[in-house]
C-alpha cells in the first residue's frame, strides 16, 4: 500500500470515528434513561430549529463563510417550494419543483 492510499484510508477511518461519536453516544444516553417531560417538550422544537438553520446556511452563507444576500434564484425557488409544500404536502413534488425553479431562475438571470 503506497503512502497516499494509506493517508486516504486514515482519513476514512478517522472520519468514521469523528462522525460516529456525536451520532452514537447522545442517542445511547437518551434512549437508555428516563428523561423529564420538559426535556421532551424542549426537544419538540429541535427539528424545526435545526432545519431552519440548515436552510439559512444554504441560502445566506457561501462556502468561504461569508454572508450572501444575492442568491435571488434560490430565494424565489425557496418561496415556490414552500407554497408547493403547503398545498400539496408532497416532498417529491416540492424537491422537483424546487430544482426546476432554481435552475430556471438561474438561466433567466444569466440571460438578463
Amino acid at each position: 500500500m503506497d503512502a497516499e492510499t494509506k493517508r486516504h484510508l486514515m482519513i476514512v477511518v478517522f472520519g468514521m470515528i469523528a462522525a460516529l461519536i456525536p451520532r452514537y453516544f447522545p442517542m445511547l444516553f437518551f434512549t437508555t434513561r428516563k428523561v423529564p417531560t420538559w426535556f421532551n417538550e424542549w426537544m419538540n422544537y429541535m427539528p424545526v430549529a435545526l432545519f431552519s438553520s440548515l436552510i439559512a446556511k444554504d441560502l445566506f452563507v457561501d462556502h468561504s463563510y461569508h454572508m450572501v444576500f444575492t442568491n435571488f434564484n434560490m430565494y424565489l425557488a425557496a418561496i415556490i417550494v414552500v407554497i408547493v409544500a403547503y398545498y400539496t404536502r408532497s416532498m417529491f413534488l416540492s424537491v422537483m419543483v424546487g430544482l426546476l425553479s432554481v435552475w430556471g431562475f438561474a438561466l433567466l438571470f444569466a440571460a438578463m
Partner: protein, 258 residues
Amino acid sequence: MNEHTNEPQWLKALKACLPLMISYLPIGIAAGILLKTGGFAIWMIVLVSLFVFSGGAQFLIASSIMTGTPVFTITLLLFFLELRYALLGTSLSKYLKNESKPFIFRFAFSMNDENYAVNYLKFSTDKKWSANDALMVEYFSLLSWTVGNIIGGILGTKITIDLPIVHFALTAMFLYMVTMQLKRRILFVPVIISVVVAVLAVVMLKSTLGLIVATLVAATAGYLLERYLKANYSDSAILKRIKNPRAREMEQISEAEN
C-alpha cells in the same frame, strides 16, 4: 384498505425514502466527482460513502485532500462538522426507547440530516412507523448515496456538475420539512430566530458549529415562549394552530384506514 396494511415493510420504507433517494443521486455524483478529482480511488469512495455517509463531510474531505491538509486537522474539522448529529440522535431518542444497544449502534451509524428529517416526520405523523422502518429508510438512503458517489467516481472529470443548483435539492427538502412542521403559529418564532442566529453564528465562528448554536437558541426560545404564554395568556393568538389545506382529506384517509 387491506392491500395498504399488508404492504411489505421494505416497500413502505422505500416509498417514504424515494424523494430523498432521487435527491441524493446528483449530489452523490457531485461528491464522487470531487473525491475522484482529489485523488481518491473508487474503492475508497465506496468506503467513505458507507462509513462516513455525510454530504458535508465528503465535500470537506475532497477539498482538504486537494489542499493537502494534515489528517489530524481534517479529523478535527470533521468532528466539529458532525457535532450537530448529537441533536438528531437526542431528538429521535424518544422513539427508540425499546431498542437494543446493537440496534441503536446500527441506527446511529447510518443516521444523517436528511434521513433523520424523513424519519422524524414519519415518527411524528404515522403511529405505525417503527424503528425497523426507520432503519430501512437509512439503508435505502445509504444505497442511493453510495451509488451516486460511485457513478461520480467513474465519471471523474468527464463531466461538470453545477453544485449550488444540485445542492438546492436538499435545501428544498428542508424547506418542505419546515413547512410540514409548522402546525402552530408559535413555531414561526424558532424558525425566524434560527435563521438569523444561524447566519450570524456560522459567519462569526467560520464553522457549521454555528448551526448548533442557532438550533439550541431557537428551540429554547420557542419552548420558553410557549411556557410563558401558556402560564400567562393561555388564549393568546400565537398559540393557535395553522390551517392545513389538506387536513380534511388526511382525516378522511386515516378514518378509512381505521
